[in-house]
Symmetry: none
Subunit: 424 residues, 2 copies
């Protein structure tokens, strides 16, 4: 796919805090996404420490490979930020005070009741050859410099300062400066099928895929993301190419598709429930509130999510969800029978249109030969109907909780879609 | 601190999805943190695409600079993963089938009711010179290879597979293999104070800190992790250095300390409840099940966690938690009064010894001048006593949910600790 891109870039993030994992570098992901979206391919991302030699080497190497280099970090006022001096060295330049920036810093700090000290004053010193990219969110502006036909952008490491700079100034500048290819993505979320099985189902699809399109698999616990990318001249054509290819994926693996808009199952479920002006309630044992958390992670979910009961102990299953003690005794807490009584209980108690329930053994303890760790029973109910199924996931507690949660929502989602298509 | 480190490593993360920002590379941060913790300094992190030439170049360059290279990504079964073939090329090797891995994959997939297909079979093929690092969590194992005195570790890109491999096998292996400097960490979890305010309180502490110790701030939503690192020869001495320094931190900011063992608040709370053979129940509105999720993320939590009610709608607050309609009308759902009735309701209904409740406006909608987005009321109850407080967090929905959840647990934790110290 890379070969389609005429314009290639590299990203360099500077800071020891990245190397020792004190912070996760989210800047390069943001830049990659937004540069890629306008047709610039990121050839490499490099994170390096706050050392002069490292910075010089990184600038040198990137400049030899690509014609665009984006650098974040090391532009703050504190003494461990040696980037500006190193930039001067690399571009054979010297620092000069910029009066506009000086007044901007003075004003900004003044508004916070802070006076100018020596450190702040230094923030107005820049390589004389640099074009200054104003920073409306902070004190340290960005810099644009050129060397041997490569364009370098230096930005602060603070994410929202970098993002504002890119959105308001650098990305528009790049669109004007270069004639960029059109590029479009389509992200399809699948669930209930592993990466390798899905790949098997899509073998023929991949064989026929036109060369200006590409498919990537992005596995996550309990779900596989498919990213279809199209690149060319005519963006309208690319859109329709993606649509017709998506149809082929639908034909090959439609029953596993949760979303063709890259939305998570809780988002798609929420959209559907909103459309139907319907409500949902959740009864959770082994998922321990995670389904409720995912549903309420969507803003506006109060429109359809009434609430839930986390019935971790059997006592709570009987007292709050009206599960019969007899059913618990006869079938055990992890059984289709109990899952069904849980889902009926929460649907009645919370007076919701739809409901889901999960009971299982997340692990690592609590397993038996008959019901090993990872055994999970899921039930979903609507319109006086109750459905349930039991599964065996894995041995990993955290993963079992996540997989059971997304699976439960996926079953209800697909059931509502079927119901919908019957009604239509 | 870098100068203390004799052994240097580089990290290479492979995958177009990283370059186009479809996923944030959290693997390198995790590896950086944990390698650094055993005395290995990360010299550089490079993220590259799924292209043969790029992989070859990256392996070559890293090998020239450092004696340890950690590579993640590109070991899955699907066709966009070309790493294994490229490894053969780089190490001048060929693929051979490993019968043990073949049986492992067969067994793992079998347990999920999946048969072997051609793609899965390929997962058992490896460079003949490679030492296989088993993957207990997934189908693709890790590989260890050596070239020109540099040791290369190849791991899957799926974070929890990489983490398990590193924790169980690679990190212990490295500790044996190399004479690493004695290095000790003490991680102190604080809550209820921002990074900059905490740093201010610790200014004098940092000034007196001996040069062989260092302090790192790792801020997370609602909590700041302090990592105190000591490096030298005599590990016993380092331990006692850490303890005496920890005492100084306790003197400067003790009231904010949740854990001195690096445990999250839900872990510390669980330990305390287990000690007391006591139980807990949770009533959640705006946190939407996240507190229950955190409490049940700890294995063995069924010993003390009875369950909870997610009362997202007022209707559920009255029907499932016995909140008075009058209280809702008079004070509104987001009020100390409602929080207190919620906590009493859940404590009585679920018959628990301790209980916490949260009601608030997570946002982005639902705010008013009187009660803006981020207003959260928290109550905690035990021994016939009820306590409550209201706060204003921020505008960010996800952060508000996380901060309110950890704050609620922290209040109960501190209250139980006080109660304990009174009894003792």
């Amino acid at each position: 796919m890379q070969t389609h891109f005429s314009l290639q870039a590299e990203i360099i993030t500077i800071g020891d805090e990245i190397l020792i994992g004190q912070i996760v570098d989210t800047n390069s992901a943001w830049m990659g996404q937004h540069l890629n979206a306008i047709g610039i391919w990121i050839h490499q991302v490099a994170s390096i420490g706050d050392q002069r030699e490292e910075i010089l080497k990184a600038l040198q190497n990137a400049g030899e490979r690509v014609s665009l280099v984006f650098v974040t970090g090391g532009l703050g006022p504190t003494r461990d930020d040696i980037t500006k001096q190193t930039i001067c060295e690399y571009f054979d330049d010297h620092l000069e005070r910029d009066e506009n920036v000086y007044r901007h810093v003075e004003k900004l700090l003044g508004s916070r009741g802070i006076g100018m000290n020596e450190l702040n004053q230094k923030q107005a010193d820049f390589p004389s050859k640099a074009t200054i990219v104003p920073n409306i969110c902070g004190t340290a502006p960005g810099l644009r410099l050129e060397k041997d036909g490569t364009l370098y952008f230096f930005m602060p490491g603070v994410p929202f300062e970098m993002i504002t700079m890119m959105e308001d100034q650098i990305l528009p500048d790049l669109k004007v400066r270069f004639s960029l290819p059109a590029i479009r993505h389509k992200t399809i979320i699948t669930q209930g099928i592993g990466e390798s099985l899905l790949a098997e189902k899509l073998t023929n699809f991949e064989d026929q895929l036109p060369s200006h399109l590409s498919l990537a698999y992005l596995p996550e616990p309990g779900s596989v993301k498919l990213r279809l990318t199209a690149m060319g001249e005519d963006s309208g054509q690319l859109e329709s190419d993606l649509e017709s290819q998506a149809t082929l994926i639908r034909n090959a693996a439609g029953e596993y598709i949760i979303s063709e808009k890259g939305k998570r199952v809780e988002e798609e479920l929420g959209i559907l429930l909103k459309e139907k002006h319907a409500t949902i309630a959740v009864a959770e044992s082994c998922t321990g509130g995670y389904i409720s958390h995912l549903l309420t992670s969507i803003s506006g979910s109060s429109a359809y999510f009434k609430g839930g009961v986390v019935a971790y102990s059997n006592e709570v299953k009987t007292s709050m969800l009206d599960v019969n003690q007899g059913t618990l005794n006869q079938y055990g807490a992890v059984s289709r029978e109990v899952a069904e009584e849980m889902v009926i209980g929460v649907k009645n108690r919370l007076k919701s249109d739809y409901a889901i329930s999960v009971t299982g053994i997340a692990g690592p303890d609590g397993g038996s030969d008959e019901k090993p760790v990872g055994t999970v029973c899921i039930a979903w109910a609507f319109a006086d109907k109750v459905y349930s199924e039991c599964f065996h996931f894995g041995d990993h507690r955290d993963r079992n909780i996540k997989r059971a949660s997304t699976a439960a929502m996926a079953f209800l989602l697909q059931a509502i879609r079927k119901q919908k298509s019957i009604l239509c």
